[in-house]
C-alpha cells in the first residue's frame, strides 16, 4: 500500500522537519485533518462547492484526433475546466473549509506561476477571509496578469526578495510569515510538499481527480483502470491526484513528466529525479536538486509551475520503489506538444500540462491501450510565453 505512515513517511521520504515554533500548528493540523475531512458537515459543504462552484466533475474527454496521431486511445482529464483554470482550486477549497473549522482568521499561501495564489485568493474571497500571498519578486514580473487577478480578488501580494526570488523563496517567506503569526493563521500549501500532514492532505483533496477518472472510464470503456496515467510533476499535486486511486493497482502505469528545461544536463533544468539526491526541503525528506554541500540549486523551466527544486515525498517514494516512471520533458518539446493539442483538439493547454502531453512521444504503447493524460490547467495564463516562443 502506498499511503503515508503514522510518522508521516512514504517509505524513506516525508516527515515533518520544522522549527519548534511551527510545532503547535502542525500538530493541530495533524490531529484534526482526518476527522474534520471525514465529518458529514465538511463533506457536504466540500462536495457542494466542488460541484456548483468549481464545476466538477470535470469531463473525461476522448481526444480522437490526438489518439489517431499517437496510435492509442487517449483520454484527457479536463482539470483545465475547473473554476480559475486549473486543478489547484480542489485543494484550496478543501483547505479553507478546514481552516474555518480550526477557527483561523487569516490565510497565507505561496505561489510560483500564480495559479495557486489565484486559487487561494478566490476561496478567501468566497469565505470572506483575509489573504496574503507570497510570490517571488521575479515571478511577480513574469506573471503580471495573475498578480492582478489576486489583487482584484482582494488578496495582498507580498514579494519574496530573498535568494533567487522565485517559488522556493516564496515558500520560505510563507513559512516565516507563519512562524510570525502562528495563532490565527492557516498556511494553504499549494502542492504535495511541506511537512506532514500537508503532502497527504493535499493529495487527498486532489484525489477527486482519479476518483472521477475511475467511474468515468467505467462508463466509457467498461473498465476502471487505464493502461497508463500521465501527469506533469513540479511539486506534484495534480499528479498525486491523478495517481492516487491507482497507486496500488500495479497494472496501471504511472507516468510523471518533469521539466527537463533546456536539457537535463544543460544546467538549466528542473528534472528533480534525474538530477536530485535525497535531502530535506521545506519540511520534508525528499529528492531535491542540491550541491554536494547540501545547498539547494535553483531549477529552470519554461513553465513557472514546474520550476521547483524538489518533488513531493510521495513522488520521491514512487520513484524510489520504481512504481512511477519519471521522464524529463524539455522546454521546446513541451511547447510543441502544447501547439499540437491546440491544433488537433482546439484546447490550448497550460505549459505545465503540455509537458505531460509530450510524454506521449516518449513512451511505447499498443494500439488499444487506454491512456489518461491529466490536463491540469488551461493555457490562458501562458499566452505571453507562447507568444515569446513564437513557434506556431
Amino acid at each position: 500500500m502506498i499511503r503515508v505512515d503514522e510518522k508521516g513517511f512514504y517509505g524513506k521520504f516525508g516527515g515533518a522537519y520544522i522549527p519548534e515554533m511551527l510545532h503547535p500548528n502542525i500538530e493541530e493540523l495533524r490531529e484534526n485533518y482526518e476527522s474534520i475531512m471525514a465529518s458529514p458537515d465538511f463533506q457536504q459543504e466540500f462536495q457542494m462547492l466542488l460541484k456548483d462552484y468549481v464545476g466538477r466533475p470535470t469531463p473525461l474527454y476522448y481526444a480522437s484526433r490526438l489518439s489517431e496521431r499517437h496510435g492509442a486511445k487517449i483520454y484527457l482529464k479536463r482539470e483545465d475546466l475547473c473554476h480559475t483554470g486549473a486543478h489547484k482550486v480542489n485543494n484550496t477549497i478543501g483547505q479553507i473549509l478546514l481552516a474555518k473549522r480550526l477557527g483561523k482568521k487569516r490565510i497565507i499561501a505561496e505561489t510560483g506561476a500564480g495559479q495557486h495564489g489565484v486559487a487561494t485568493a478566490t476561496v478567501c474571497a468566497l469565505m470572506g477571509m483575509e489573504c496574503t500571498v507570497y510570490m517571488g519578486e521575479l515571478d511577480i514580473h513574469r506573471q503580471r496578469p495573475n498578480v492582478e487577478r489576486m489583487k482584484i480578488l482582494g488578496a495582498k501580494v507580498v514579494p519574496a526578495t530573498s535568494g533567487s526570488k522565485t517559488l522556493k523563496d516564496a515558500t520560505n517567506e510563507a513559512m516565516r510569515a507563519w512562524i510570525n503569526n502562528p495563532v490565527d493563521t492557516h498556511y494553504i500549501i499549494g502542492s504535495v510538499v511541506g511537512p506532514h500532514p500537508y503532502p497527504e492532505m493535499v493529495a487527498l483533496f486532489q484525489s477527486v481527480i482519479s476518483e472521477e477518472i475511475k467511474w468515468q472510464l467505467q462508463e466509457k470503456e467498461g473498465r476502471e483502470n487505464p493502461d497508463a496515467v500521465i501527469a506533469c510533476v513540479g511539486g506534484g499535486s495534480n499528479a498525486a491526484g491523478a495517481f492516487y486511486h491507482y497507486y496500488d493497482v500495479p497494472e496501471v502505469r504511472l507516468i510523471a513528466a518533469e521539466a527537463g528545461g533546456l536539457g537535463v544536463h544543460s544546467g538549466k533544468s528542473a528534472a528533480t529525479t534525474a538530477l536530485g539526491t535525497p535531502g530535506i526541503l521545506h519540511g520534508s525528506k525528499t529528492i531535491l536538486m542540491q550541491t554536494e554541500d547540501g545547498q539547494v540549486i535553483e531549477p529552470h523551466s519554461i513553465s513557472a509551475g514546474l520550476d521547483y527544486p524538489g518533488i513531493g515525498p510521495v513522488h520521491a517514494h514512487l520513484f524510489d520503489i520504481g512504481r512511477g516512471e519519471f521522464l524529463a520533458v524539455e522546454d521546446e518539446d513541451a511547447m510543441k506538444a502544447g501547439i499540437e493539442l491546440s491544433r488537433l483538439e482546439g484546447i490550448i493547454p497550460a505549459i505545465e500540462s503540455a509537458h505531460a502531453l509530450h510524454a506521449l512521444n516518449m513512451i511505447e504503447f499498443k494500439k488499444d491501450d487506454i491512456i489518461v493524460v491529466n490536463l491540469s490547467g488551461r493555457g490562458d495564463k501562458d499566452l505571453e510565453t507562447y507568444i515569446k516562443w513564437g513557434g506556431y
Binding site: I18, P19, P24, G163, N172, R176, P182, G294
Partner: protein, 257 residues
C-alpha cells in the same frame, strides 16, 4: 566535562551567547571573530553554518548566510578553519545549522568532526524532537555533543517538560513567535511568558533569544532566565566593520557592562 555543563555549573546568571554566521563578512573571519567574542567577555560562541534556505531566520541572518555562501563557506571549509581553535578558545562553542547540509556531509562524520575539533553542542532548528530521539540521540551522546531545543510562547507546558527531559546543556527560549531579528524590545506579553516558564522549575538552564540587542534587553531577559543569545544585532554590528576585533569587543562590553 562538556564545556557547556561546566559553564552553567559555575555561572547561573547573565550568561551571554553570541551568534555569528561562518564565512561572514569574509571567508576567513571565523577565528578572529571567535577570539574577539572571547576577549569581549561573552560566555558562549554560537557559529551558524550557512544554508541557502534558512526558514527560521529573518532578513539580517538570511543575508549573512547568502554572503557567506558566496564567499565560499561550507561545512568542509568550516571544519578546516576550526582545526586547532582550542589552542586559543576556552569558551563553549555551539554549531547552529539546518539539517540538509549536515545530512549531505553525513551525520556521523559531522558529529565525529565536531568532537575532533572541540565543539560542545548543536542547535539544529529543523530537527524535531521525535526525529532526534529516534535517529540521533545516541550518536550525539557518543560524541559528547549537547543538543539544544527551542521553545516558543506557543509551546505547551507538556511539550516544554518533554523538551526539558530530553535536553542537555540549555534550552533556547524564542522570545516571541517570530523569526530571528523580526522584533526588538521586550513586551509585557513576553514577560508573562518568561515568568511562566521560569516558574516551571526546569532542570536545564534557559537562554532567551530573538529580539536581544543591547544592555537593556540583555538585562531584562536575564532577570527571567540564565541569560540571552544575540544574533541579528551582532551580525549588523560586524557587517561593515573595518576593525572587527575592536568593534566586537566594544559591542560585547557595552551589552554586559
Amino acid at each position: 566535562m562538556n564545556r557547556i555543563q561546566y559553564l552553567f555549573n559555575t555561572k547561573k546568571e547573565r550568561v551571554l551567547s553570541i551568534y555569528f554566521t561562518a564565512g561572514f563578512p569574509h571567508l576567513e573571519d571565523t577565528l578572529p571573530i571567535m577570539e574577539a567574542i572571547q576577549a569581549g567577555g561573552a560566555d558562549i560562541i554560537e557559529i551558524g553554518v550557512p544554508y541557502s534556505d534558512p526558514i527560521a531566520d529573518g532578513p539580517t541572518i538570511q543575508d549573512s548566510n547568502q554572503i557567506a555562501l558566496e564567499n565560499g563557506m561550507s561545512l568542509k571549509k568550516l571544519f578546516e578553519q576550526l582545526k586547532g581553535f582550542r589552542a586559543k578558545i576556552n569558551l563553549p562553542v555551539v554549531l547552529m545549522g539546518y539539517l540538509n547540509p549536515i545530512i549531505q556531509y553525513g551525520m556521523e562524520e559531522f558529529c565525529q568532526k565536531c568532537k575532533e575539533v572541540g565543539i560542545d553542542g548543536l542547535i539544529l532548528p529543523d530537527l524535531p524532537m521525535q526525529q532526534y530521539l529516534d535517529d540521533y540521540k545516541e550518536m550525539f551522546e557518543k560524541y559528547d555533543l549537547f543538543n539544544t531545543f527551542l521553545i516558543s510562547p506557543q509551546t505547551s507546558e507538556k511539550r516544554i517538560r518533554e523538551i526539558d527531559a530530553n535536553s542537555n546543556g540549555f534550552i533556547y527560549m524564542v522570545s516571541s513567535h517570530s523569526i530571528t531579528g523580526a522584533k526588538s524590545g521586550i513586551s509585557e506579553e513576553q514577560v508573562t511568558y518568561f515568568e511562566r516558564v521560569k516558574a516551571m522549575g526546569l532542570k536545564n538552564p534557559r537562554l532567551i533569544g530573538f529580539g536581544i540587542s543591547d544592555a537593556e534587553t540583555f538585562s531584562t531577559a536575564s532577570q527571567y532566565s540564565n541569560g540571552a543569545i544575540i544574533g541579528s544585532a551582532f551580525i549588523k554590528k560586524i557587517k561593515d566593520s573595518a576593525n572587527l576585533n575592536a568593534d566586537i569587543q566594544e559591542y560585547i562590553k557595552s551589552v554586559i557592562q
